[in-house]
Amino acid sequence: MSTVVKSNDLCYLAIAEASAGLRRKDYSPVDLTEACLERIEALDGKLHSFITITAERARAQARRAEQEFASGKGRGPLHGIPIALKDLYMTKGIRTTCHSAVLEKWVPDYDATAVLKLDEAGTILLGKLGMHEFAFGGPSVDAPFPAVRNPWNLAHIPGGSSSGSGAALAAGFCYGALGSDTGGSIRTPSAHCGIVGLKPTYGRVSRYGIVPLSWSLDHAGPMARSVEDCALLLQAIAGYDAKDAASANVPVPDFGTGLREGIKGLRVGVPRAGWFDENLGVDAATETVFNQALEVLKNLGALIVELDGKPFSIARKANQTILVAEAYAYHKKTYQETPMKFGSTVRRRILEGAFLSAADYLTAQRARSALNEQIRANFKRVDVFAVPTAPRPPDTFEGMDPNEQNLRPSFTNPFNLTGLPAISVPCGFTPDNLPVGLQIAAPPFEESTALRVAYAYEQATPWHERRPAL
């Protein structure tokens, strides 16, 4: 048996398990770090999930954590846990590329707030992860770094834009990761890679030091292999930050407290009518898996309530309009100076924003107010929303058609527009063995509710235990 296979047992531990093992001294932070680095070295050539591997820094951090453990200076459940970051989180002294030639050699001189918080929690940084260029468009074929591949089937995309975060977790390269989400960029790769990803409420996690895509829609959040691990990561990064203009000064609860309370009597709203059948609609295998997931929730004591999906469907149009307008505003100067440094996909998407007027943008922001009210009004009747995370399984690189993507419903966009917390949890596989995600969205600042539903579902099903064959 190769050492890589033996290290799998360590690499696929949940954060809570790994943390308990560290406290018991079953292994050390150095052991965990070396196991991850060895696995990355052996297997990431197939996946391209990492852009930059910070092996020496990780080893130094691991040795420091080991000393701290030895001297009884525990820093909590993330102490000594190897993690990785989407390559748009600014990291002091480590290049931050956004997967683009524009920033290929850029080394920030400060850390993002979320990065600082993870560092204070004692995590070990393994490196920076691949993504869609500037978190926009799709996998780039003409970027300076190769596109990330899906660990479940290398011919397929992993979803984006936090593609490296999804792939690295599914491959057992790290225990947790951070992503960012402007239209679904945490939840989609989580669904396509068979892991868990949480987009918190807008304002819950600071975006200071994260390269923006769209200021009013960008969210930062955790990705992991289990719901509990996501809760642990969220606990570390949540909280008010005066450096982020959108940061919410609200109390941060203990996200682990209610996790095991179950969902008996919880009302789950399914906004199916007028949304699932929009244009090309939902892929049949995906909807079958989703309906089976609803049955599981019912068996756990939840009540399923069908809702009008029309406002959710229209929300995508407002999200897309705001996103391209704000993205163009952010990138305009760089684009005018060095257009050819942007990859072809992101170039085309950014330019769409150049042809929107100020009135168009404000129309979308006014629609946002109206849709936000309509969507949130449903919380008088239900406690959470449930939908598939993605309308179909991940495309192959060869068969990817951006025009067709626009003809499918987006189940993620409405929760960026409304800022509601939403989590994706593995809920099954298609006949081709590609993962499917169940998305649960909750009222603002009720991440605990979304986590509780996702945890109840996860514990009742075996999907999170499956691993891709690499």
Binding site: Q336, R348, F355, L362, T363, A367, S369, A370, L371
Partner: protein, 65 residues
């Protein structure tokens, strides 16, 4: 109903925006621009006169940093 965008419209707007785009670039952009305009038309139809844009300016937020 609003007039549909043409390549010529895009060329004029691109010049005004200080962008130098080839005919091929404009051709590739046209479907996305048309789709964006259709989206805005749908949004215009759902807003009421009293709906203000999301993300209003809050005067007391100036000293946060």
């Amino acid at each position: 109903m609003a007039k549909e965008f043409t390549i010529e419209d895009l060329r004029v707007l691109a010049n005004l925006a200080g962008l130098t785009l080839s005919d091929d670039d404009l051709q590739r952009l046209l479907p996305g621009v048309k789709r964006a305009q259709q989206q805005v038309a749908v949004l215009r139809a759902i807003i009421a006169p009293g709906d203000e844009p999301a993300g209003v300016f809050i005067a007391s937020d100036g000293d946060r940093k």
